[in-house]
C-alpha cells in the first residue's frame, strides 16, 4: 500500500493508524511523511535548536508508535503527536537546563519557501523579520501564534499543547499578535 491512496481513495490518518497497529511499516512511514514537518515546527518553536528539535521529533515518533495501541482517537493523530512532541521538547529543555529565553540571534532557522523573486524583494525581508520577532515572544504566546497560524490548530487544541485552557490559549494568541504588531511598527 501507499500512505496516500489505497484502492483509489485517499487513506485517512485513522486508517494509517489502524494499519500501523497491525505492523504495516508503510503505514507508519506514511504517518511520518505527513506529520514530521508539523512535529518539527512544534519542536523548534519550543527548543529553538535544530539539533535538539530533530532529536525531539525522533523520540516523539518512536513513543507515539509504541503507544499506538493506546491511541483512542479522541484527538486527531496529528494533534496527539504534536502533544507528545511538545512534552518531549520540554523534557529535552529540562535535561539541558535551557529554560531561559534565547536571544533573537539564537532563533531557529528561517527560510522563505518557494520565493518569487519580485515578491521576495518587497516582502521577504519583512516576513523574515516578523518570524524572527515571533521568536522573541514568551513561550506560550509564541507557541499559540505559531500553532494557530502555521498549523491551523483550534484554541482548544493549542490549550492542550501549551498545558493551558482554551481561553488562555486564545488570550496568549491575541497578546502575541498584538505584541508582534507593536514590534513590527
Amino acid at each position: 500500500m501507499t500512505d496516500d491512496s489505497q484502492g483509489g481513495h485517499a487513506v485517512s490518518d485513522g486508517e494509517l493508524v489502524e494499519l500501523g497497529r497491525s505492523g504495516d511499516h508503510a503505514a507508519l512511514d506514511g504517518l511520518v511523511r505527513r506529520h514530521h514537518a508539523s512535529a518539527y515546527r512544534v519542536a523548534i518553536s519550543i527548543t529553538r535548536r535544530d539539533d535538539v528539535a530533530q532529536d525531539v521529533v525522533q523520540d516523539a515518533f518512536i513513543k507515539a508508535f509504541r503507544a499506538l495501541r493506546d491511541f483512542r482517537g479522541d484527538a486527531s493523530f496529528r494533534t496527539w503527536l504534536m502533544t507528545i512532541t511538545a512534552n518531549e521538547a520540554r523534557v529535552a529543555l529540562r535535561k539541558r537546563g535551557r529554560w531561559s529565553e534565547f536571544a533573537i540571534d539564537d532563533a531557529g532557522p528561517i527560510a522563505i519557501e518557494d520565493p518569487d523573486p519580485a515578491e521576495q524583494a518587497v516582502t521577504g525581508q519583512e516576513a523574515s523579520r516578523a518570524r524572527a520577532l515571533l521568536e522573541t515572544l514568551p513561550e506560550k504566546q509564541r507557541l499559540s501564534v505559531s500553532l494557530r497560524v502555521d498549523e491551523g490548530l483550534s484554541f482548544r487544541e493549542i490549550g492542550d499543547l501549551i498545558e493551558s485552557t482554551e481561553g488562555a490559549a486564545r488570550v496568549n494568541y491575541f497578546h502575541g499578535i498584538r505584541r508582534l504588531r507593536e514590534l513590527m511598527e
Binding site: G20, R21, G23, H25, L28, D29, V32, R33, H36, A37, Y40, R41, I44, S45, D50, Q54, V57, Q58, D59, F61, I62, K63, F65, R66, A67, L68, R69, D70, I84, N87, V91, G108, P109, I110, A111, I112, E113, T123, G124, E126, A127, S128, A130, R131, L134, V145, R148, V149, D150, G152, F155, R170, F174, I177, L180, R181, M184
Partner: protein, 155 residues
C-alpha cells in the same frame, strides 16, 4: 461592522490567510476586510509569518523513517531475561560481579524488543511520560523492580 464581528473575523484570519476556510466563512472575511483597517493590518502580519515558515530539514523525513524502523526491530534475546542481574546490579550500585560487563556497557535496550510476535508495542502508559529511568528511584523501588524483572525473566 461591529467589534463583535471583528472578534469573530480575527479568529478566522490565520485560516483565511492559509486557505483553510470554507467558502462561506471565506466570503465573510472577504466582505469584512475593506471595512476594517485593524483586521487588514492583522491579516498582513499573519501573511508575513506564513511567508517565512521555519525551515524543516530536508533529510529529516528519511532520518525519522530509518529511526522508527530501527526502533521496531527485535534485538534477539529478551533484555530482561538475560541481563536482569546486570541491570539490577547497575541500578543498585552493587557490583555483583564483572563477568558480564558487556551487558551493561552497551546501548540501552529497546523496549520494543519486549513485545511478542504480532504485537507492535507493549501497552505501557509510562512510555508516554518519558524514557524509563532508574535515576532517583529509592532502594525499595529498585528492589521491587528487581523482583519484577526477575519474575519476568523466570517466566
Amino acid at each position: 461592522m461591529s467589534q463583535t464581528d471583528c472578534g469573530t473575523i480575527r479568529e478566522c484570519l490565520p485560516d483565511f490567510a492559509a486557505g483553510r476556510l470554507d467558502d462561506d466563512a471565506g466570503n465573510a472575511v472577504t466582505a469584512h476586510l475593506p471595512t476594517c483597517a485593524e483586521c487588514r493590518a492583522e491579516l498582513e502580519l499573519i501573511q508575513m509569518l506564513l511567508a517565512a515558515p521555519p525551515m524543516v530539514p530536508a533529510a529529516l523525513e528519511d532520518q525519522l523513517t530509518t529511526a522508527v524502523r530501527t526502533s521496531r526491530q527485535p534485538t534477539g534475546r529478551p533484555w530482561w531475561g538475560i541481563s536482569a542481574a546486570a541491570v539490577a546490579a547497575l541500578a543498585l550500585g552493587i557490583g555483583v560481579s564483572t563477568d558480564r560487563p558487556e551487558a551493561i556497557d552497551g546501548p540501552v535496550p529497546d523496549f520494543a524488543s519486549e513485545t511478542g510476535e504480532g504485537e507492535l508495542w507493549p501497552s505501557d502508559d509510562g512510555l508516554l511520560a518519558g524514557e524509563p529511568s532508574l535515576d532517583g528511584l529509592s532502594d525499595e523501588a529498585l528492589i521491587e523492580l528487581l523482583e519484577e524483572l526477575t519474575g519476568e525473566g523466570a517466566a
